[in-house]
Symmetry: C2
Subunit: 388 residues, 2 copies
């Protein structure tokens, strides 16, 4: 297993792209990643693409072939990976594995979702397919409801408050003001969140990540080859892991921790030979604010039950104890589900290269991305540093 580095990254702006098609978003992100690497299309040997629900959103499957086609990269192998909202992270994991193995030297990996082609109600039903259709969605438990159950239990067990959850959103919106590609580049106040309407109590509208269109792409290369090619600004993937948990909440041992995250991050820390306190920043999966609180606990940054308090104390703010979601996170950067895991990694590259401008984590040396599928049934974790 060889070391693998990222030698190019690109993302589209995230938002409601009424004027752009699925194919155009792919072209934009793919071309940006390729240009940032300085390579040509002919240098790419295989493609992985994360996409959750294109069948429901735009009536299109066979997304791997579509990506290759749109980028003019036929006849190389092109594979779509789907793991709900962790589709991007799992695509990255698989692209990492095929480069690490020596099967390929240079691989493009992307993520894409075009969610605004259907009504919000249809989008909610499509997204419900990330949970258990039979025992959850069919009975009306859409995703806000599932995370509301998690939030309510976390409040009961640990005294976490609605204000503490709301402060995740406030922080992430503040971070997003420094991110030109973010969907929401404006600050919100604690009062804004607290006064927004309940979607599924205790979660309010501003506790929820939005419906978003967007794409992101990376070019992966074996570190050895990247060095030979003269790259001196590559980002090495020093940890990569993926784990699963029961699809439905009812199968979990605990509602207040995500086993898949804990298993995957343990493996990633071991591979990278780092510990939680070594991480300078993390892009975590805040599809709902409570998810960020669980994440910063399960990733080992704070003790179980203390994530809400840590957020309230400002310990997760930009350039505080650990910068959580400097990009603005899913909440404010936006959450085009299949693209999110790749966009997180693209953000890690920007931070580690010192190119994150208004949201820069000072002196960032090691970053982590945490991408979750459904209510926690899949987790993909990656750890990055500058190529040594």
């Amino acid at each position: 297993m060889r070391s693998v580095s990222i030698i190019g990254a690109g993302t589209t702006p995230f938002g409601e792209h009424w004027e752009k098609s699925f194919r155009e978003l792919i072209a934009e992100a793919g071309t940006a990643a390729l240009q940032s690497s300085g390579l040509a299309g002919k240098d790419i040997q295989a493609i992985y693409g994360g996409c959750m629900a294109s069948g429901r959103f735009i009536g299109q499957e066979h997304i791997g072939a579509l990506i290759a086609d749109q980028l003019g990269l036929n006849p190389i192998p092109a594979t779509r990976v789907e793991a709900a909202c962790a589709s991007g992270g799992v695509a990255l994991r698989n692209a990492y594995l095929v480069v690490s193995s020596g099967a390929y030297d240079v691989v493009a990996v992307g993520g894409i979702e075009k969610m605004t082609e259907v009504s919000t109600e249809e989008a909610a039903i499509a997204l419900g397919g990330a949970g258990d259709q039979e025992t959850e969605l069919f009975h009306g438990a859409s995703f806000p409801a599932l995370y509301a159950l998690i939030a309510r239990r976390h409040m009961y067990e640990f005294g976490t408050t609605e204000e503490q959850m709301a402060l995740c959103a406030v922080k992430n919106h503040r971070n997003a003001t420094g991110n030109p590609n973010a969907q929401y580049r404006k600050e919100i106040t604690l009062e804004d969140v607290m006064q927004s309407g309940y979607v599924a109590s205790p979660l309010k509208l501003l506790d929820c990540s939005p419906i978003t269109d967007g794409a992101a792409a990376l070019i992966l290369c074996s570190t050895e080859k990247a060095k030979k090619m003269g790259f001196d600004n590559a980002i090495e993937i020093i940890g990569s892991a993926q784990a699963s948990d029961s699809l439905a909440l009812t199968g979990r041992k605990s509602l207040t921790e995500m086993l898949a995250t804990k298993v995957a991050v343990k493996e990633a820390y071991a591979q990278a030979s780092v510990k939680p306190s070594d991480i300078d920043f993390a892009e975590v999966h805040d599809c709902f604010t409570i998810a960020e609180i669980l994440a910063i606990e399960d990733l080992g940054f704070f003790k179980k039950g203390e994530g809400g308090k840590a957020t309230e104390e400002g310990r997760t703010a930009l350039n505080a104890e650990i910068s959580i979601n400097p990009s603005g996170g899913l909440k404010a950067k936006g959450h085009p589900v299949g693209a999110t895991g790749i966009a997180q990694a693209a953000e890690a590259c920007m931070q580690l290269l010192g190119k994150a401008n208004g949201r820069q984590v000072k002196g960032a040396e090691i970053g982590l991305t945490h991408n979750v599928g459904g209510s926690g049934a899949t987790a993909a974790i990656h750890i990055f540093r500058r190529m040594q």
Copy 2:
């Protein structure tokens, strides 16, 4: 890159499983594969699952996690791969790569589709997502229409006849009489096919593969470890390759050959150090009869344009010059799209182990599987022999 072998295989019967759920089909195939390997669930280190359109068919995505959950295999990584009707073959390719790389020693790979939960019209629309939604399906070109264009051009260029196409179906139905898991285990005559109604001229109802429910699974293991564990009846994967082509027919240089198949099989032959004449049998992607004719030409078994004539002359019949689709193929065994590529490999195992009973290819030593996505935009090829 290490050698990889199949140490267990299982399939459900293929057909209209009104009485079984998606989850039950997974449990049945997964358990059968595991039992045939003699391993326990705890021995499996990762899962790959091919599935095309579960979002459209049953409202469920996140199929990797669902498979792990259903088989009690959490928290191991579980990844769904989608490549339209080549989802199974591409899942196998990816499972092969992660074992070959040394990332994992023992991996389960499955394929699943439950297609009868929706109307035939809804199924046709879902399947249309395998082609180009924008330039084909939206304008009414469903899959029979796309393959009808291919057929018409093949007839025009090479004089291929409707009778020659029909004889693929006749042969495959005959083969399926020896396959207890096949959807249609009855012979049909040339007259039956010729008198069946046109679906999209020149393709008639009995030129088309059916709507099918089913699942199949394999257990992959590094060949070295399989030998250490005492397996003496494993099937080695000696060639594995995947390629892409333009999603829409309009982007192809030729309608009468599939570039993805040609690129992939060339690579697979080179890896396996075999030539077309070394292949004793092939499970090819006969979603329509014309697709079998293209396949046996593009795979190098017959010259371009001579596939129809070769079929008419009986050269592709069971135990003739080369046994094509001894299982009954997609036409008669059935075509649960995400499962097909895995079921093809399971058939190769049965044949090479001499366990194919009424459809046994005598003295079979080397077999090939050919799995196509859409109208040819993805091809996955695998070549197998008994572990030496």
